[in-house]
């Protein structure tokens, strides 16, 4: 059901239909802004972006460049389940899974690329991740680049801790479960 909003446009009165007074009022507004900004350019809210930056709000809703979280032992939390790749509307995530040689039940990403030139910064990969392995909390804005390869984030650039956030990079749930499973199998 499409909701239709009815707008009651008041008919213009004679003074408005002559336009001149309204035009003069409009020009007064724009000329006012023009001269105010001409005399005091510092007062403008515009910022010379790459050189001059506004501090980011840093709240929970902020989505910045991705990172892959790591465990205490330095291995990626990611288990290469492909859920983020499936959820991604821009198809910008490329994963190649591999297995640990000593641990046959758990996968890890041998390759994890995010093409920032395609990423729409929607945050769906973060929502989709069952391991809480991918996050968008680096507070770095994905900037422009002169070549496409420069926009490619590889696993090496993604894997990093942010100590300041106090995020507990503990052993992930699947790691614990896998270890328990291996332990029980070893007992058999």
């Amino acid at each position: 059901m499409i909701s239709v909003k009815k707008v009651d446009n008041k008919p213009l009165n004679l003074l408005e239909r002559v336009y001149l007074l309204e035009i003069a009022r409009g020009i007064a507004v724009t000329a006012g802004h023009f001269f105010r900004n001409l005399i005091n350019p510092e007062g403008m809210p515009t910022v010379q972006y790459p050189e001059q930056r506004i501090p980011l709000p840093g709240n929970a809703r902020l989505r910045t460049r991705h990172r892959l979280k790591i465990r205490a032992d330095g291995s990626p939390k990611c288990v290469a389940c492909f859920l983020c790749r499936t959820a991604c509307p821009a198809c910008c995530i490329h994963i190649e899974a591999a297995e640990y040689p000593e641990n046959t039940v758990e996968k890890y990403p041998a390759v994890f690329d995010i093409d920032l030139s395609r990423c729409v910064v929607c945050g769906m990969c973060v929502e989709a991740c069952p391991e809480d392995a991918i996050a968008m909390d680096t507070n770095e804005l994905p900037g422009g680049a002169l070549a496409r390869p420069d926009m490619m984030l590889t696993k090496e650039t993604l894997l990093r801790d942010i100590p300041s956030t106090g995020d507990p990079s503990v052993k992930g749930a699947s790691n614990r479960l896998a270890n328990e499973y291996l332990k029980t199998r070893g007992e058999q």
Binding site: I23, H33, P45, T46, Q48
Partner: protein
Amino acid sequence: MTGFFEANREILLFTGLTAVKIAVFLGAVMGFTALLTLAERKVSALMQDRIGPNRASVFGFAFNGLFQPAADGIKMILKEDFMPERAEKLFFTLAPFFALVPALALFAVMPFGDYVMVFGCRVQLQIAELPLGLFFVLALSGLAIYGVILGGWASKSNFALLGAMRGAAQMVSCEVVLGLTLVGLMMIYGSAGLQNMVRSQGGLLFGFLPAWGVVYQPFAFILFLTAAIAENKRGPFDLVEGESEIIGYFMEYSSMRFAAFMFAEFVEIVLVAMLAATLFFGGWQVPYLYETGFLFPGGAQLPLNHYLVSAMQVGAFAAKTVFFSWFLLTVRWTLPRFRFDQLMGLCWKALLPLALLNILITGAVMKLPL
């Protein structure tokens, strides 16, 4: 050889002087137009609390965007010069010239100053002293329609053709109003030569008010400005181009051909500004400044050198042109665009009768025994 110079002294002097005047005046106008392309972006930016282009730099010196016109020009030259396969090659090439040349030719009749004495020789500060300059202006600005029509038709594109039809209809209907608003001025000044019209604006009304055209014909000034902006295809009447939604006649143009159309538009801004200053705001006249110096209404005098007076008059004309150019930019970035039928309604149903009424009232007042 000396005999040749002696025999043709008059014509040689005239040719040389005219060439110098053309070089100086047209050079100034072209430079100002180039700066106007930057001014358009800067003015609109400042109006909207933005900064505007300030990155184009030479050896690291940007001067707040002063090199932007040069950067734009270089970019335009380097773009691909595209021509549709089925386009009429000759007319497609010719159209930008038809847009640009009449606009530039009109500067020939603009009086940018009174006269200046150079080595005892009286030099009129006007390239061509046509006795019917105003008709020359109207005739040549009518010629600019050919640029629109040829550009749209020769590119063999339906969108461009529709844009050209729209543009031509708009320009023709505004041409009529433009001509009629100026009739009142011709009646008052009793002349159609632009220099004469400026000279007759030199007096005083009631002993203190400069007898500028806008004092006699304030109503005609508003009509003229509206019609001139519409004729100029500038916003709020810029539906001829309407890049984002209705696409204009130069849709198939790229590179310097497109730049010629754009440049013609900016030249026409300068032209409209100069015409408004010349016809309604006293051209090069400075209030209370006469050939020998200032003569204020209270009786105070300030005698001035001839060259100082001339420089002040040319400066006044330049200042008025700059002001009206700024005003046209401001209007363009303030008002929303008219729809095509609204524009036609405005031109034919509002401006045209009002212009005729203006002529009637002017004539009646002039016949009154005052």
